[in-house]
């Protein structure tokens, strides 16, 4: 069977309705960047940029006064800043998983969401990179982490996991950006060719690099895309593994665990899928993308959430078991007492209920296909995953070996403002992306359509002349019952 045909035995359907025309796909996606922004976009944008403004204020105050404006204190020197860093890096991981790993496994449903998820990776990693940079106390000395000659004739210590992190996260950001841009080139050419405004044509044309859809180009382009997907796959697994080594190479109970690398990667993908879903549901409603992002895609993502939730739950269970099985009194005190019954028991309870209990409702198809349920669950999972990092970082530091050195961490208003501010930065960047760049890969969606099959005849193709498709004439919602009618949200 040809690879573009759905496998009937598996109950697969075409990604886009067989009746859709190639031109409709172009129109459906490109129109978002061409028409006026809907009111929903402006509401979201103003809200997001207000939070981004709070971020700027908080960071300015931090630079003015120093890291004392945060709640970090002995013995909890890593607190919200590193929690936020790990959380944001983790969110980015789902983007690479969708764009690279699902590409290699030929999961063609990813075409509806991959551009989106890649953009999410880039913006999440930008938010992540902010935190270690502002956490160093003297941000103007950040360049010490790079192997460049400095006035002290010192080189970085390449045996430090913190330095591995610098290389891992910056490589991750660069490779994600290259991957994203490579995927965008043919779509930028489409926007260039459709533009009426000469400025649009010049700007999109500049970034499209003169792409002309040549098959001699496609050949190298597809190979480049495959290689990028191939190298991104081990890269994404390495990044959160290296992040986890920041903790795992220390001796603190709660951090000194060999399970950390795979456990962090599973958690990263879990939270990332939840964030993709949150953003996707907003975009789908605001820009009415019901015909491209089908309920089937959302349901598949919910299955992924369920799977990764089970992986994360397994890791939690293993931590408990090993703490008991090791017989180490410090490990037992941490996992069996401080986490569930210590002063931060509520953080542990949030983590457990949001990450392990809540996603279990996805065993039911009714829940997997309910938009309101998945929006709430996706946010709860993100809250739960934030608390997971909080539990790992703050709960391990606040009570280690010596009870005389125990202490509590209390966040300040600046902590809260900086964190919620980065959420504003993230959504501001995202909304700008949605407005000015094609948020679904037109090229890839067309490649999964029946028309892409060169063995199919063309009798039922559309008119020769360009037709403007009025909004009312759009095809009715896709595969029967699988989709909520337009405007029902």
């Amino acid at each position: 069977m040809a690879y573009w045909e759905p496998i009937r035995e598996l109950d697969e359907a075409h990604l886009v309705q067989p009746a859709s025309k190639l031109r409709e796909v172009t129109h459906e996606i490109a129109r978002i960047t061409e028409n006026r922004a809907p009111r929903g976009w402006w509401i979201c944008f103003l809200l997001a940029s207000a939070f981004a403004g709070i971020f700027v204020l908080c960071v300015s105050y931090l630079f003015w006064r120093g890291v004392g404006v945060w709640g970090n204190t002995s013995p909890v020197y890593w607190a919200w800043d590193i929690t936020n860093f790990v959380w944001w890096v983790g969110i980015g991981h789902a983007g690479t998983l969708i764009s690279a790993i699902l590409f290699i496994f030929r999961q063609r449903w990813r075409t509806a969401i991959n551009r989106f998820a890649e953009a999410m990776t880039i913006f999440a990693v930008i938010c992540a990179l902010i935190f270690p940079s502002i956490h160093v106390g003297r941000p103007w000395l950040m360049f010490y982490v790079f192997p460049i000659p400095n006035q002290m004739t010192l080189w970085p210590n390449f045996k430090s996991p913190l330095l591995w992190d610098v290389f891992a996260v910056s490589t991750y950001f660069t490779v994600s950006l290259l991957f994203w841009y490579t995927g965008l080139i043919p779509d930028l050419a489409t926007l260039r060719d459709r533009s009426i405004n000469p400025w649009r044509q010049k700007i999109y044309g500049f970034f499209a690099l003169g792409w002309r859809g040549s098959n001699r180009h496609w050949q190298n382009y597809e190979r480049a895309y495959l290689i990028l997907a191939g190298i991104s796959t081990p890269l994404v697994l390495s990044v959160h593994s290296v992040v986890s080594m920041d903790f795992a190479t220390s001796v603190i109970p709660g951090w000194h665990t060999t399970i950390f690398p795979p456990y962090f990667v599973a958690g990263a993908i879990f939270s990332g899928f939840a964030m993709v879903e949150t953003v996707l549901l907003i975009a789908r409603t605001v820009f009415k993308l019901h015909r491209v992002v089908l309920m089937r895609h959302l349901e598949l993502m919910n299955k992924f959430l369920l799977l990764t939730s089970l992986l994360v739950g397994y890791a939690y269970g293993m931590e408990f078991f090993i703490a008991w099985y090791s017989g180490d009194e410090y490990e037992m005190a941490h996992f069996l007492h401080n986490r569930p019954m210590g002063p931060y028991w509520w953080a542990w309870a949030w983590m457990m209920s949001c990450n392990v209990l809540v996603p279990q409702i996805y065993w039911f198809k009714k829940m997997r296909t309910n938009l309101a349920v998945m929006f709430v669950v996706s946010i709860l999972v993100n809250i739960g995953m934030w608390f997971e990092r909080f539990v790992i970082i703050v709960l391990s530091l606040n009570r280690d070996f010596l009870p005389s050195a125990w202490g509590l961490f209390r966040p300040t208003i600046i902590d809260v403002g900086t964190f919620t501010g980065t959420i504003g930065v993230f959504f501001t960047l995202f909304l700008l992306f949605m407005r000015w760049l094609p948020m679904v890969s037109m090229t890839e969606v067309k490649g999964t359509m029946p028309q892409a099959d060169p063995h199919r005849h063309a009798e039922d193709e559309g008119e020769h002349d360009p037709v403007k498709i009025p909004d009312q004439e759009r095809l009715p919602a896709a595969a029967a019952g699988a989709l909520v009618p337009e405007g029902a949200e």
């Binding site: 080189w155 390449f158 490589t171 043919p186 002309r212 859809g213 990028l228 193709e461």
Partner: protein, 190 residues
Amino acid sequence: MEARPTSRRRTPSIILAEYKSAHDVLHAAEKVRDAGYVRWDTHTPFPVHGMDRAMGLRDSRLGWIVIVFALTGLTGAFAMMHWMNGVDYPTVVGDKPPGAPQTLPSMVPILFELTILLSAFGAVLGMFHLNRLPRHHHPVFESDRFRLASDDRFFISIEADDPKFDVDKTPALLAGAHAANVEVIEEDVS
């Protein structure tokens, strides 16, 4: 298209044939290949499955470029870490003698990351190099219909400097292969 001054002498630079479906363009490409043309191309809104064979193209050479970049990243990362921590300013961390083989495991993460980083640059820049991009000007952009090549139309272009090119026979070949439209793009001769 705007009218150009007629005083200049104009000569065909490229022939552009438009097709309505992936099916049509694939079979037309097979005919062009069999007719022995070499300086020609197809333009499609997405990569058409089987087109490489229909055009008789060899496999992409991009992998060779990437492996060179990857090995450069790997050896460069090793040289950097060994020289900085082992030779120029020897540092003892974790009781490992500077520059000794025991320091190798701690180098693995950065060896890996820089290999990946350079491979990614190799893949993207190598692709641009093989495709000779960016190239913002090309004769096919002279056609008003060509903008549909990024939407839902499929094109074949044959350049006038192809040894087999013939002002009458080439358009006839393309039209004979079910082209929806054939146009000759001309350029000024200086």
